[in-house]
């Protein structure tokens, strides 16, 4: 229904009947069966404060791990939390990831020609 309306508008933009055509497309005016991948947002380094505390403790106690066990455990908990956050964060906020969208489109593509 609305597809034909869009096709008519496109045909009007391309036609030479009303003077020069508005559009002069190089590539065909059709959607591709894939989505462009999003630029990976650069995060910051996680757990830097815990790491620096641990290294300070090491420097004082000559890299003895039994003495610094508290800093070590704090560091491990921080690392685990960061890992869980990184794993869970990716596919939320309602939108599909570009990779997932591409997989779906590959399985159910827009047919551009009859088979």
């Amino acid at each position: 229904m609305s597809g034909s309306v869009i096709q008519e508008k496109v045909a009007k933009l391309l036609s030479r009947q009303n003077g020069k055509p508005v559009l002069r497309p190089i590539k065909p005016l059709a959607l591709k069966n894939e989505v462009a991948s999003r630029k990976l947002k650069k995060g910051e380094a996680t757990c830097v404060t815990e790491m620096s505390l641990l290294m300070a403790c090491w420097k004082q106690n000559d890299f003895n791990n039994t003495v610094c066990s508290k800093e070590v455990s704090v560091f491990y908990t921080c690392v685990e939390k960061a890992q869980n956050k990184a794993k869970g964060k990716q596919g939320t906020q309602g939108r599909l990831l570009p990779k997932e969208a591409n997989t779906l489109l590959k399985r159910f593509p827009n047919l551009s020609s009859e088979i």
Partner: protein
Amino acid sequence: MAASVRHLLKPWTPSLCFARWSRYNPYYLDPDPSKDARVPDSELSPEQKELQELKTVRPIKAALSSDTSSPFNDPLISKFINMMMQDGNKILARGIMTQTLETIKRKQVEKYHRSPAAKRLEIECNPYTIFQKALENCKPIIGLASVQKGGKSYQVPVPLTDNRRRFLAMKWLITECRDNKHRRTHMYEKLSQELLAAFANEGNVVKRKHDLHKMAEANRAYAHYRWW
């Protein structure tokens, strides 16, 4: 003529074998070969209950022939044996491991009988606990990763996953025992010496771990070059 025809009758095996990754669909669950009695439902936390329910419904991968239901089956020891194995000679690797554990036990029992009664309680005789403690002492806490920034590559201190740390500890132990020994000492002897030294926080492997920590500490200024 029989020889030329025979090669057609051999079963076809692919020339390239993917040794690293398993071919299983990730939908399959890992097998649990232990014969422990089933804990009644009241004592399970909600996640464990979910896991039990999944096990009744989902398909499960086939168990490896090295995972037995015997109480002597230790996944850490199995992993170490697999890492020691060369050219698929599991029998030899397992033999070396049992000899190592036996040597450790003998040394510790000798030490136990020779020491005065006051010090006897401190001496650990169980070779499995010695192995686990020694491996714990060899595991690095922070590793170094090579990060390229502005055309130059820097060694950046980075937290490591548990699997990576276990792998590094085992790898260091094995390479140390293979390289730095007299040609006439057996592998099991050298391994037992290294394990006992690591248990006491001495020896070359622990020194290597400390060297890594020192390098990480020296490069701590580059820690912000990480983006993960």
